[in-house]
């Protein structure tokens, strides 16, 4: 077995040129998913009638079906039944799918973190005259985020890697680019090894940021 290192060194910068698109999709989807997941979690915690049942169905569906199926459903399926979606492009469909899919998972970990905030904290917040919304925003969510952070970063890592599925929607992101390069050079092993290393380095960098962030969020809890 021989490895064509020179090819990998030439290929790497080409693939890195597609990294911004990959990170863009993941970041936008993560930001949207965080907002959506927080809303879902609050509905789950407060058990708001009707919304509670609706969010239950939503979470059940998006956790219960494969991401790839959901992406195909959005990109190939929906335009056939909804006329205003005929012009949906691959990137939008991918971001939409990633957002909905991951928000369903993240809602559960945010919900658990909210429920885990000690009762004395909410009693104290109410006792000083805060409204429910103020209590959530100022006391409960900041404490819940700290607890949920490691899991949320895990989902973000998963999300970065899942953007590779966008190539099945015709999006030339890092994975799509690799596929094309490999098809013309026939050096499949080198090509996919290169892209694997790039994903790996990105995720490791993120893990480093995560450790920093955890330390910063934990500053109120050190003795």
């Amino acid at each position: 077995m021989s490895l064509d290192f020179d090819y990998m060194l030439v290929l790497a910068p080409i693939l890195l040129g597609y990294l911004p698109l990959t990170l863009q999709m993941a970041t936008i989807a993560m930001a949207l998913a965080l907002v959506l997941a927080s809303l879902l979690a609050i509905v789950r915690v407060l058990r708001t009638p009707v919304l509670y049942q609706a969010t239950g169905l939503f979470i059940s569906f998006f956790r219960g079906t494969p991401l790839l199926v959901q992406l195909f459903l959005f990109y190939y399926g929906l335009p056939q039944v909804l006329s205003f979606m005929t012009r949906i492009d691959g990137v939008t469909a991918a971001v939409m799918g990633l957002t909905l899919h991951f928000s369903a998972y993240m809602a559960e970990s945010i919900r658990a973190a909210i429920v885990g905030v000690d009762r004395s904290q909410t009693d104290a917040a109410l006792s000083i005259g805060m409204t429910q919304a103020q209590m959530m925003r100022r006391i409960v969510l900041p404490q819940a985020v700290r607890v949920a952070l490691p899991t949320l970063v895990n989902y973000f890592i998963d999300m970065i890697k899942s953007t590779s599925l966008a190539f099945t929607l015709g999006v030339t992101e890092m994975m799509g680019a690799t596929q094309k390069e490999a098809a013309s050079s026939f050096l499949y092993f080198e090509a996919f090894l290169t892209v694997a290393v790039i994903y790996w380095v990105v995720v490791e960098t993120l893990s480093f940021v995560q450790r920093r962030l955890e330390r910063w969020l934990g500053r109120a809890y050190r003795r």
Binding site: A124, R219, Y221, R223
Partner: protein
């Protein structure tokens, strides 16, 4: 004048508070004593609707409400007229000492941040913790946390301060510093309703001591009378237990 009428609270079939009537004058210091499980804490928690009673009317600082049926807006209005000191301090874990006190001033009273912090600094100084501004609760002793807990309650400028066994979670070495802060408030004639097992505090500073048992007020009076000549045998039995050296 604070007027409470017919406060009743049930947990399932268990009646914890059985039609309590209680008047508290402005600047009065009222201490509630009694065996555990007689509804003392629940009484306090009904005063600011942390617990929703089954019946009861309360008039406080120009606000009269039906405690069992009032809406969210009225509950807020009541909570903004009262302040609560918790047994387990319950400081906001994500906020430092200064912000624990300033939080209410900024969020509820809508003071500018600078003004709120200046006021919070005065309070920190008054509870003797001017040097712990940036400390988080996890880095403070129980006594320090409770003094900040009282400071947070002081920021409210409340018509009534409620103390729920403020010293009973503390190691003995921290009790005195907390009692000193409460004494400071009592001498400044802050209206307060205190549930405590600290008989010294009751004897030295209360205007009136209430003995509760079985969800009812059994007996009440100035400490000089209640501690020396309790009329009811239940009061006598309780005092004999908590004050073994006293002649009751």
């Amino acid at each position: 004048m604070i007027e409470l009428r017919g406060l009743t609270k049930r947990f399932g079939a268990n009646t914890v508070l059985d039609g309590i009537d209680l008047d508290i004058a402005e600047g009065e210091i009222v201490v509630v004593i009694g065996p555990s499980g007689t509804g003392k804490s629940t009484l306090l928690r009904c005063f600011n609707l942390l617990e929703r009673p089954d019946a009861g009317r309360l008039t406080i600082d120009g606000l009269t409400l039906d405690l069992a049926h009032c809406d969210r807006r009225q509950a807020l209005a009541l909570r903004r007229r009262t302040a609560f000191v918790f047994q387990n301090y319950a400081l906001f874990a994500n906020k430092n000492a200064l912000d624990n006190i300033a939080e209410r001033l900024i969020i509820v009273d809508r003071l500018p941040k600078r003004e709120a912090h200046a006021r919070a600094r005065e309070i920190l100084a008054r509870v003797g913790l001017a040097n712990r501004e940036t400390s988080y609760p996890s880095a403070l002793s129980g006594g320090q946390q409770q003094r900040i807990g009282i400071g947070r309650a002081m920021a409210a400028n409340a018509a009534l301060m409620l103390f729920d066994e403020p010293t009973s979670a503390l190691d003995p070495e921290w009790v005195d510093e907390v009692l000193a802060v409460m004494k400071d408030l009592a001498l400044a004639r802050q209206t307060m309703l205190v549930v405590t097992h600290e008989m010294r505090f009751a004897r030295d500073l209360a205007d009136r001591v209430i003995f509760m048992e079985g969800g009812r007020i059994v007996e009440q009076g100035p400490p000089s009378e209640l501690f020396t000549r309790p009329a009811d045998p239940r009061t006598r039995a309780f005092l004999r237990k908590v004050l073994p050296d006293a002649e009751v």
